[in-house]
Structures are given as structure tokens and as C-alpha cells.
């Protein structure tokens, strides 16, 4: 497998100004996605994982830091990006009920990207839409239907089809199955995995579901209050988690088989709640919930270090030159 980086995020910051103060939704996040891999970004609500995806898509510009995509800097909002780039970078949103316009037919939705980028030389956009429907396994007679009449799985398939239309090389998957039932989730995930191989895609897979992540991602990053606290290859990540927060998450996941239970790390009881984005604790933002918190934890922000080869962690328990004052 190649290690060519298709997308690199460096020191990314996204702050939102509100009347009650500044919300640091994303604070100094760096990672890169390798060509043809699925990079998983995991976190609870308020961790900033979706914001990362939205900044990459240019839904809003970053406050600081850079995003490099296929060698070009794209640290700006979508309106200012070159059209050619827009074709290469796509997103599937969490809830297809809101990402598909309820007043446009499935055909109209699927034709749009082809039309915008003039991707039908003969002008037969309807045919393009039909072909896309074949690809996402939707009967052609659904073309004139509205999204509201479809089930969640079918709607999400349409959203995937729309993302694929322009022939992208990178897709942000923003919790693509969290609005779906388990029995339908499987079909969508398998479709995504198939397309990845077929079309040489790289994914940034954002989710709160670690079990799902285990099955789809090659590498995983965990976010907590706007920062990545741990990042590793999936097998290493699940067999040897380092950060106390990761351990807490893993022990909190409900599982159904004894084999899964055996895989969990020593039980770390989950305590406390994620802090409000307006009053992030000083030092390590996880320290109020951390059973291993030390004095330094409330004072010094741990920087992220490569503890082992390919395994990064931001925690004072794993000292390196940078963290051992």
C-alpha cells in the first residue's frame, strides 16, 4: 500500500464567536489521510469531529492552520475554491433527511453535479442520473420520486450517489449511518467499502461508534474537546489503547459477544461529562474526568507525541521530551 498523502491537515483551528464567548470547536488538529485508506475520526458530541469535516469541505474557512489536498492548499471556504477541486472533494452528511432537498426529485438531485461540471458531453443528464441510480442499486423508476417517500437507507444511497457523481478522490463521511437502523446500516457501509475499491477513494470517516470504526478504518484518531488525543493504526489502537479517555470509551461501549468483552481494556469507569465548549478546563481538557490525573495535568496542555511508531498520544502519562517538565 502506498503512503502517499492525499489530504493533510496541519494545526487546524476553528473558533466560533458567540455572544457568550469564543468556542474553540477545533484546536490545533493535525493528521493526514493516505491515499485509498479510510481514516476514522471518533469522538463524542461536542468533540469537534464534524467541524473538522466541515472545515475540510470549506463549509466555513479555518481560523488558523492549513489543509492541503492533492498538493494544493485549500484552507478557504468552498466558494473560493477552484471548480476543478470541488469535483475531487465530496461529503456525505449524517442525516439524509436534511441533506436531500425535500422538494427536488431523486433525478434532479443526482443530475445537479453533472450539470454544474458539464459532465455529460451529449447533454443527456437524465441518462447520467439513471446510471448513477444503477450504481447505488436504486430502481430507475424512483427517479421522479421525492426523497421524503423513501426509506432512510435509500435516501443515504442517493446522497452517496450525489457525492460520487463528479468522480471524487476523497470523501468526507460525516456519521453516514448514525441516523439509520442497524439492519440498514450494514448495507450502506458495504456499499461504501465497495465503492472505495472500485473508484480508488480515500475516506475521512467521522463517527461516534467505535465498534463500527473497528470494521471500516485503517487508522483511527480520537478527538476530545477539539483536540486529537490519540491516533494509531486500527489493530494497534484497539489492542493497545494508551489514552485514558480512549480506554474509558472502549470500556463504555456496549458489546454483545464474550469475544468482544475480552478485547476491552481493564475497566475504566466512565465518570463526569464532556465540559462545555465555552469553559474548557485548563491543562489537559480531560483531566477532571481522568482517574490518573496528576498535578501537571491541570496546568500543562499535553502535546501530541509519537509514543510508538505510528501511535500518537497526547497525555502526560506517556512522557517524552516535550511533556516532561
Amino acid at each position: 500500500m502506498s503512503t502517499e498523502q492525499i489530504l493533510t491537515v496541519k494545526d487546524l483551528k476553528k473558533y466560533f464567536k458567540t455572544t457568550r464567548g469564543i468556542v474553540k470547536a477545533v484546536d490545533d488538529v493535525s493528521f493526514s489521510v493516505i491515499k485509498n485508506e479510510t481514516f476514522g475520526l471518533v469522538g463524542e458530541s461536542g468533540s469537534g469531529k464534524s467541524t473538522v469535516g466541515h472545515v475540510i469541505m470549506g463549509i466555513y474557512g479555518p481560523t488558523a492552520g492549513s489543509i492541503t489536498f492533492m498538493g494544493k492548499d485549500i484552507s478557504k471556504s468552498v466558494g473560493k475554491r477552484p471548480k476543478e477541486l470541488k469535483k475531487r472533494l465530496q461529503i456525505v452528511f449524517q442525516d439524509p433527511a436534511s441533506s436531500l432537498n425535500p422538494r427536488r426529485t431523486i433525478a434532479q438531485i443526482l443530475e445537479l453535479p453533472f450539470k454544474v461540471h458539464h459532465l455529460a458531453p451529449d447533454g443527456n443528464y437524465a441518462e447520467k442520473a439513471f446510471e448513477m441510480m444503477d450504481l447505488i442499486e436504486l430502481p430507475r423508476e424512483f427517479a421522479a420520486r421525492y426523497p421524503g417517500e423513501q426509506g432512510g437507507g435509500e435516501k443515504q444511497a442517493v446522497a452517496i450517489g450525489r457525492a460520487l457523481a463528479t468522480g471524487p478522490s476523497f470523501i468526507v463521511l460525516d456519521e453516514p449511518t448514525s441516523a439509520l437502523d442497524v439492519s440498514i446500516q450494514a448495507k450502506i457501509i458495504n456499499m461504501l467499502m465497495r465503492f472505495q475499491k472500485e473508484f480508488d477513494l480515500s475516506y475521512l470517516f467521522i463517527t461516534h461508534n467505535l465498534s463500527l470504526m473497528r470494521n471500516v478504518a485503517q487508522r483511527v484518531g480520537i478527538m476530545y474537546l477539539g483536540k486529537i488525543v490519540e491516533l494509531a493504526g486500527t489493530p494497534e489502537f484497539f489492542s493497545n489503547p494508551l489514552h485514558p479517555y480512549t480506554k474509558m470509551l472502549l470500556s463504555a461501549i456496549p458489546v454483545i459477544t464474550p469475544e468482544e468483552e475480552a478485547l476491552k481494556p481493564e475497566k475504566i469507569m466512565s465518570t463526569g461529562e464532556i465540559a462545555g465548549a465555552l469553559n474548557i478546563p485548563l491543562g489537559c481538557s480531560f483531566h477532571p474526568r481522568c482517574p490518573f490525573a496528576m498535578d501537571t495535568c491541570s496546568k500543562v496542555v499535553p502535546s501530541i507525541i509519537e509514543y510508538k511508531r505510528g501511535h500518537h498520544v497526547a497525555c502526560h502519562l506517556y512522557p517524552s521530551a516535550g511533556n516532561s517538565q
Binding site: 449524517q94 441533506s99 454544474v116
Partner: protein, 290 residues
């Protein structure tokens, strides 16, 4: 859900079914249709078409309702029923002219301000709308009419000038919230132009409330027109405007009550019709999104 369907629009069959099951909306549709037919064919349907304008027949003045003049006659001996039938013409014309001026303008302003939410366009448009909405529309319309020469045309212009902000505000509230919807973001990411997003993605989602408001407003515009002429700042005699007829007739209360009361009831009928119809239109669009 069964069978291959190539429908171009939402399920109109179902919507119509729902609409036609609503007894009151049907009454509304009936009333509006009746008024429209009377207005269009007034010269042929009115028993005394000549009574619409300058016409004097003193021997028959102030006749109470009878078989010859079902709604009686006014101080000049004109048939009240005939004048009401012609009155509908001016009422409907008022509604049509005002709304066809106001709706496109107000809707486009609201859409654009909503799309560029937080920007300068939003600032200017919505602050202007707020200023126009700072006083009841009738009051400002009255004052505009007062500095102009009272006429049907000036009344229409004055009402139009007052009415656009309602549409701007309505559409703005929808479009500014849709601006952040994932489907709008998806269109942006696909590279769609602002024109496409405003008119193809956002506008269709505003249609339900807009059409409902248009239907309801038809009644209210007619009322405000009648109010202007009731005061004497709208249509001028001898134009058979319902408002003018009510106020003229009021001078002869209580003895010649019919001169005032029947035009008043005609106004009520028109407003009631549009109100009932408007509720039906609202249901129609609610049914569609089920």
C-alpha cells in the same frame, strides 16, 4: 407506494383529496370562485349595469329591499346589488395588482437577504423591512394616500409600498434557516451557483407558506383597499367601491340600513372566502410533506 410512477411534482392527487375532504376549504373555494365570476361578468350578470357609475334615478331612491331591487337602492336610486357586483371588480383588481407587484419583490428580497444572511444585503433589506413594519400598514397607506390625490391607482400604489416587507420577512425567516441545511451546503459543495441555490433549492421550500399567505392576503388587501375608500382616501365616487358604498350608506343609518349593510356583508364574504381557502392551501402543502 406501489407501481412505477413518473411523477414530476409532489402528490397532487393526495393533496387534492385532502383539500376536497375539507368542507370549509371547499366553501372558501366556492365563494372565491363565485366572486371572481361575478366580477368578470358583472356587466352581463348585474340586473342594472348602468347603475355602476354616474346614474341618477331619484324617484326610486332609498327603496328598501324588494323584488325589483333585492338589496334596495341608494340615495341616487341606484341598485345596491348591481353596485356590489361591480364593486367586486375593484376589490379583486386591487388584490391582483397589489399582490402581483408585492409578492415577487418581497419574495426575492427575502430570499437574497436570507441567502446572504449576516452580510450587508441582509442588513440593509431587513432593517428597511423593519422600518416599514414599524407602523400598521393601514396607517402608513392612509398617510401616503393623503398626500397624493385620492384614486384607485394611488391606493394600490400606497398599499403595495406597505405590503412587500411582510413577504420579505416571511421568506427571510425560512430562507435564513434553510441556509444552514445540509442540502444547501451539499449544493454549494457540488459547485452550484447562488442563483441555483436561491431559486432551485431554497425557493421551492418556501412555496407552501408563500402561497398560503397570498391566498389569505388577497382578503386583507381587499379590506385595506375598502378601508381607504371608506375613509375617503381611496376610490372616489361614483366608482362602486365596497368601502365607499359602506361609508356613503352610513350617512343614512339607521333608516336606510341596506345601503351600508349589504356592501359591508359583501366585504365580509370576500374575506371569509379567502380565509377559508387559505386554510385549505395550508393543508394542501402540509399533506404533501407527510
Amino acid at each position: 407506494m406501489k407501481g412505477a410512477v413518473f411523477r414530476k411534482g409532489p402528490d397532487y392527487g393526495k393533496s387534492w383529496h385532502k383539500f376536497s375532504n375539507n368542507y370549509l376549504s371547499q366553501v372558501g373555494l366556492g365563494v372565491v370562485a363565485l366572486v371572481a365570476v361575478i366580477a368578470i361578468f358583472a356587466p352581463y350578470m348585474a340586473p342594472y349595469p348602468s347603475n355602476a357609475g354616474f346614474f341618477v334615478n331619484y324617484p326610486e331612491a332609498h327603496e328598501p329591499p324588494n323584488w325589483i331591487h333585492i338589496f334596495g337602492t341608494d340615495q341616487f336610486g341606484r341598485d345596491v346589488l348591481s353596485r356590489i357586483m361591480f364593486g367586486f371588480r375593484y376589490s379583486l383588481m386591487m388584490a391582483v395588482v397589489v399582490l402581483s407587484l408585492v409578492v415577487p419583490l418581497g419574495v426575492v428580497l427575502g430570499l437574497v437577504a436570507g441567502y446572504y444572511r449576516g452580510g450587508k444585503v441582509d442588513m440593509v433589506v431587513m432593517r428597511c423591512a423593519d422600518i416599514f413594519l414599524a407602523v400598521p400598514p393601514l396607517v402608513l397607506a392612509l398617510s401616503i394616500c393623503s398626500v397624493l390625490t385620492p384614486s384607485v391607482f394611488n391606493a394600490m400604489m400606497a398599499v403595495s409600498l406597505m405590503w412587500w416587507p411582510w413577504y420579505t420577512r416571511l421568506v427571510y425567516s425560512i430562507s435564513s434557516s434553510l441556509r444552514n441545511e445540509a442540502f444547501v451546503q451539499a449544493a454549494e459543495i457540488a459547485g452550484a451557483s447562488p442563483f441555483h441555490i436561491i431559486f432551485r433549492e431554497i425557493l421551492p421550500n418556501c412555496l407552501g407558506p408563500i402561497l398560503t399567505k397570498i391566498t389569505l392576503d388577497a382578503g386583507w388587501v381587499i379590506l385595506i383597499g375598502a378601508s381607504l375608500s371608506f375613509v375617503g382616501l381611496g376610490a372616489q365616487p361614483p366608482i362602486p367601491d365596497l368601502g365607499t358604498m359602506v361609508s356613503d350608506g352610513a350617512n343614512f343609518l339607521p333608516e336606510q340600513w341596506w345601503v351600508s349593510l349589504f356592501p359591508a356583508l359583501a366585504i365580509v364574504l370576500v374575506i371569509l372566502g379567502f380565509n377559508l381557502l387559505g386554510d385549505g392551501v395550508r393543508d394542501l402543502f402540509a399533506a404533501e410533506t407527510v
